[in-house]
Symmetry: C2
């Protein structure tokens, strides 16, 4: 038993003294119930912000969380629930904030599933503060990890794919090499992947909170920047 415990501690990277006692640990049954409830919010989701995105963020949260010795159960629930307000933001064309809305919805789900008040508060705070454009910034290790994981999924090859997928969803052009980003607006036909790269994706690397997030972001950023450089050269027929 002890060696199993040790292996587990090694795998999670969490120091034993920090781990919650057995009765406090999240049961697989509750985790699964929350997962199914979260998933139900994505029935009509578009590919750029769908359940696959949540699952990738979940895995990234565990990866960063182990490295940074965070509370993995808080992270698991925060990751599963972080985008459940997205559908409402999309339907309001961006007027509703999905982080604020998601926090309200998450609190109810956590209460229904018997998560204690202290942990609920931590999870809800992570969701409230995970937004790139948000006014409030993450103030806990778990909040910082959720923010980093969510943003890492919008850069690199995944980020390039998501940016073009989103452009396709809103009926945008493939590319506008001579774009004046000051004159175009999100959620319109001018919202090309290249505009998204110039105004947002290229800046994400500098916004990471955790050391492991910064490390992964460097590789993903370089790949993405190389991609758009090449796109510009191909478009004018240089290569």
């Amino acid at each position: 038993m002890n060696s199993k415990k040790n292996r587990r501690a090694e795998k999670t990277g969490a120091p034993p003294e920090k781990r919650p006692s057995r009765q406090d640990r999240l049961s697989p049954r509750v985790l699964e119930a929350v997962r199914q409830e979260a998933k139900s919010f994505f029935r009509n989701a578009r590919g750029s912000h769908d359940w696959d995105h949540t699952q990738r963020v979940y895995e990234l949260c565990l990866r960063l969380g182990r490295k940074e010795r965070a509370d993995l159960d808080v992270l698991r629930l925060a990751a599963l629930l972080h985008d459940i307000g997205r559908d409402e933001e999309d339907r309001s064309n961006g007027r509703t904030c999905h982080a604020e809305k998601g926090a309200v919805l998450a609190r109810k789900i956590l209460k229904k599933n018997g998560i204690d008040e202290e942990r609920t508060a931590k999870i809800v705070r992570c969701i409230e503060t995970h937004r790139y454009r948000g006014r409030i910034v993450p103030d806990s290790l778990e909040g910082k990890i959720l923010f980093d994981a969510d943003k890492l999924d919008s850069i690199g090859a995944v980020g390039v794919g998501r940016a073009f997928l989103f452009a396709g969803e809103v009926g945008a052009r493939l590319h506008d090499p001579g774009i004046d980003v000051g004159k175009t607006k999100p959620y319109t036909k001018e919202d090309t992947a290249y505009r998204e790269f110039l105004v947002k994706l290229s800046r994400i690397k500098a916004r990471m909170f955790t050391a492991e997030g910064r490390r992964i972001a460097r590789g993903r950023h370089k790949f993405m920047a190389d991609f758009f450089r090449r796109l510009n050269r191909e478009t004018v027929g240089k290569i």
Copy 2:
């Protein structure tokens, strides 16, 4: 005058003896008229097959045509008109062949603009034979160049972007790493960019007809293959 002619011959790469006489050359006025008429077919086009694509293919045709010493005027008109049947193919969900339809439409436009019968036949033949899945294959230098230019625009960084844009247009997922390509269909939600890469884009390099097309395809293919390799690794959280 002679030196101007020589500079021009050098720029186009066409040997002087092959170039048409002054009265046979395409006038800028006619070229512009055909361009405007062709463009009008793209009013409702989606970003993955829009007028920008035609313009990129036009530039690639000139680039390959100069290198391969082709009839640039035939290429110019064939490039402008090659996808004007696309709208009808899209509206028929793929039942109409855009190459056959485009050839019929192009013949009328060329006649109306006073292009002679011999050149019209060459241009129409290029359009009929430019399709990747077509039963008939290009049988002239200009036809081979149009085919190569059109396919080059679907690989490389441009090809990656177009594949995701198209997936967004049809409401597909971002990625399905464990895809069984035999079980999915084009024009559906399963038509991911990765499926398109596996069944089509990865094979284009081997289908080039011209030496210059092959050379450009090698670089674009490598970049695209690296992209999807990286996408797979990022998706499972390896990088």
